[in-house]
Subunit: 304 residues, 4 copies
């Protein structure tokens, strides 16, 4: 199974605070018809930190059932302790995950020195029955993995790649350049999806791909066809929505946009909240803009 | 029960990665003979993020058994989701906790706006059978609670106070000044324990109090006796050790210092590590300095 | 001359963008009648970065004329290059300054390692005909001087002390504790003036002392008389105005507050601006509160 | 004159701390034979903050003399005050500058709100006899210009473009997209030169172009020829040196690398220092690597 392409970190649907797995199935039916290469289950945007273990198992079961063998099933399994991370990674493996995404432990930020992280990921890689991807997400974890650490870790055969959500293109470039030849780099920040492809990323794991999967996939297709001007133009259309459903309005905004786009979003769990009507209007406008972009092209000088 | 004085956020002893509750009992026997006013169980330094729920329950049972009724039993119960926080707070209440310490949820840092935090803490306070203390710890959570938010929350009768570990004395001053009259402010950063008392804190919840409880208690006693010069002098003796067992060497360092001071520290759980021999030497030296401080006094001009 | 007490970093008056030295004289006449121990001329709040050298000389001349020999004349002389800093420090010395305040050079932040700063300040101290005070102001300079560096520098006999505006009380405590016995520490952040005195600062160089000098002086007097509760209470009355004329509304706000308090403030130079009427109302209210504080005392429990 | 291509922010040569203008001429003779499109005179790397006005004028005279009419003469003219910036910009215009680079004023960081910066740049643009480029350099200024502010400023006909040194590719993308059609965007951070071209930058103003101008120019040529794999490969060869002569060793490192590459670098002014022999070895090695890169190509999978 080739690790590349566009994957959404799928949201977890709730109704009145309870898991709504039939809604999850509905979402999969629609996503499966698109060019998405796979799915990240139990990622940050899946509100994994708000699910207890039983709920996580239920989400995994339904996801495994719904994801066709041709698409990647990537599962977020990182926890704070090394031991628990290993245990849950192998639980996910047993349930059919293709690969595990392991976030940096981060509660004790000051203690998470490179060597501590190195040993943590190595222990997990050694003990995991499936390949793992590292997950660097400074905006949630409050710590960053430098390219030198990633390069060292890339030497382990069971560490297949990384999802880097820092948005730092210099760092992504260094990771691509310094790591093992077949180490795969996914970008986790949609506003830099196109430039990340330019410097060697193999794909994107993008929250906004929950909402407009085809638009995201199309950017990569255009890039692969060397249609740089068109890829860049589509990126510029996508960016405002991508920011609205992440930094600006968070998971509440993401789920609201999904509702507007014909998926089931629903409410996030407390303390997160669904945004109000003003945000709904804005999201509706941003969605329309992507579907029907302004005909006026960017100036040719800017798209050479 | 009066909320004030010095409390250690007690460490959780492990042997070979397993809970060592007899060692915890031994520690309590020694601590109980000191002037500590109480204990924080399942705090950050208790490695609560590395314990599963069963282990937490066992720690609570043993702590309840060991803590005499004259001392405060404060329990860390904050989790990411509002619902789980309420559930676990009431679990702790049922097991005999006097008060719950509720940390800011923080995984989705960008979404934790003041109003979101306000509603989270209000829900918990409404539903909790015991009083709660807010817990502000930017160095772990990556977010800070401003004094205005704390002041608003202080109006709820079931929100009794705050532990603020920011180390920001301006902020502590504002919290004391702007909050409800009987709202209690504990400082969570030992290097500013003495100035925090000067601006109105009622006590400290201090990692270093696991190691040298009497020294910490003595600072507050001296302050209460208006012996400012002596209190400040003792603070200056304490600070290097206090930093070594927190920012500098983390929980591994804290546990090592406890071993050196006659308590059971042991190893932290992975990915945390016990530091090496160089650190042991340094900690031994710092402990000696506190027990036998240099006879040469600070210059009188500095201690007026 | 004893370095201690309260000094304002005096503002530089302009009318239509031109120096208004008669207004400066008027301000001095009023300030001289208060308990201020001296003045900082050409500090940050004096808009020194907006003055050319000729203007600086004129301000020094008038200040020297107006400042009585019983009060300290401290002059801000730090520039980016070592050579220019030495030249201008000796120019100020020739014009009668008692002491020079030398800010950290900071344009090339990444290069300003401790050893570079050490050599810079040592060169200046060696070549200066008057004593110097270090000036640490992270909010403007973007770099911080750690207590270890300050302690090393304090060994030079011509480095008399420091103005630390970081607001970090832990750092101030360490500076007081680690430095030479007679090294003087001034705090540069009014909201922590009282706690800074508690941990050993000898005084404050405070923007708000331009506006309400007597209130600032009174805090120190109360502290010296061991009237801690009253000192703290007055601090709490002062803090909102102190923040308004610094972090909140900057020098434009400071000058407006001076106009309201009977001094000449006037407009700052562009790009700084005088704030609008809303801010004027707020400043007026804050001033009134200080002059006529609410009769209701803080709860006794908070003022022990 | 078309604003695009690669320009070095030229260093200012000193011998024993004095301007060495003959060395500057020598450097220009070599640079003029390369494909550089122009020069930035009196930029940050020109140590402009360490030059007095007379010295600046001398550097401008010599530069004007040495720069052929076919190449751009861009001059750094930004100062803290609006009035002084206007005055010096017109001085540079009178001396033959083609365009002025105006850095954000930044000493009073907290006061530099978007509207204040907007009015500052507008005043300068209105009064300047030559076109201006905005200069955003958070690592020196400590403040950042958001794309929305840049877009608003781009509407003024005399504001021709921007040099953005943030290294933030998302921000550069937004600036290109949101600004006036013919607004030019130069990237000021060499490690992201290639991705910046991909998203629409017209060129780079790069410290490392003082040392290896042809390599920098070649990246842009390869990009223009749509040879993306080769451009990216050359970028990866350039990056380690580019970082060494900026973030890692600063201007001292930049000047040392110039000496090694056959230009005159010399010493920076105090407090900056020339690095020691270890750094010289490292720089020599990095230069060799660029001139004679390892024959082994990157894996084809990474260069598609």
């Amino acid at each position: 199974m080739k690790l590349s392409g566009v994957m959404p970190p799928i949201v977890t649907p709730f109704i009145n605070g309870k898991l709504a797995l039939d809604k999850l199935k509905m979402n999969f039916q629609k996503w499966n018809k698109t060019g998405l290469s796979g799915y990240l289950v139990l990622g940050s945007n899946g509100e994994a930190v708000y699910l207890n273990e039983k709920e996580k198992i239920r989400v995994l079961e339904v996801s495994r059932e719904c994801i066709p063998p041709s698409k990647i099933m990537l599962v977020g399994t990182g926890l704070e302790s090394t031991q628990e991370t290993i245990r849950f990674t192998n639980q996910a493996a047993k349930m059919g995950a293709d690969c595990a995404l392991v976030v940096t432990p981060s509660y004790f930020k000051g203690s998470m020195k490179p060597q501590i992280l190195y040993e943590h990921f190595l222990s997990v890689a050694e003990s995991s029955r499936i390949g793992i991807l590292l997950y660097n997400v400074p905006q949630f974890a409050g710590i960053n993995m430098e390219s030198e650490l990633v390069a060292r870790l890339s030497e382990h055969p069971n560490i297949k790649g990384i999802k880097d959500s820092s948005g730092n293109i210099d760092q992504l470039t260094q990771i691509v350049h310094q790591s093992r030849k077949d180490f795969v780099v996914f970008v986790g920040s949609a506003p830099v999806f196109f430039p990340a492809l330019c410097i060697g990323a193999v794909g994107g794991i993008l929250a906004v791909a929950n909402v407009v999967p085809e638009k995201c996939v199309r950017i990569q297709t255009l890039y692969n066809q060397q249609k740089l001007m068109e890829a860049r133009k589509l990126q510029n259309q996508l960016t405002p929505l991508a920011k609205a459903v992440t930094v600006k309005y968070g998971i509440g905004g993401l789920k609201m946009a999904m509702d507007l786009a014909g998926y089931f979003g629903g409410d996030p769990r407390s303390p997160l909240k669904r945004p109000g009507q003003e945000v709904e209007k804005e999201l509706r406008r941003l969605l329309l803009q992507i579907e029907n972009p302004m005909p006026m092209p960017e100036s040719p000088s800017k798209l050479q």
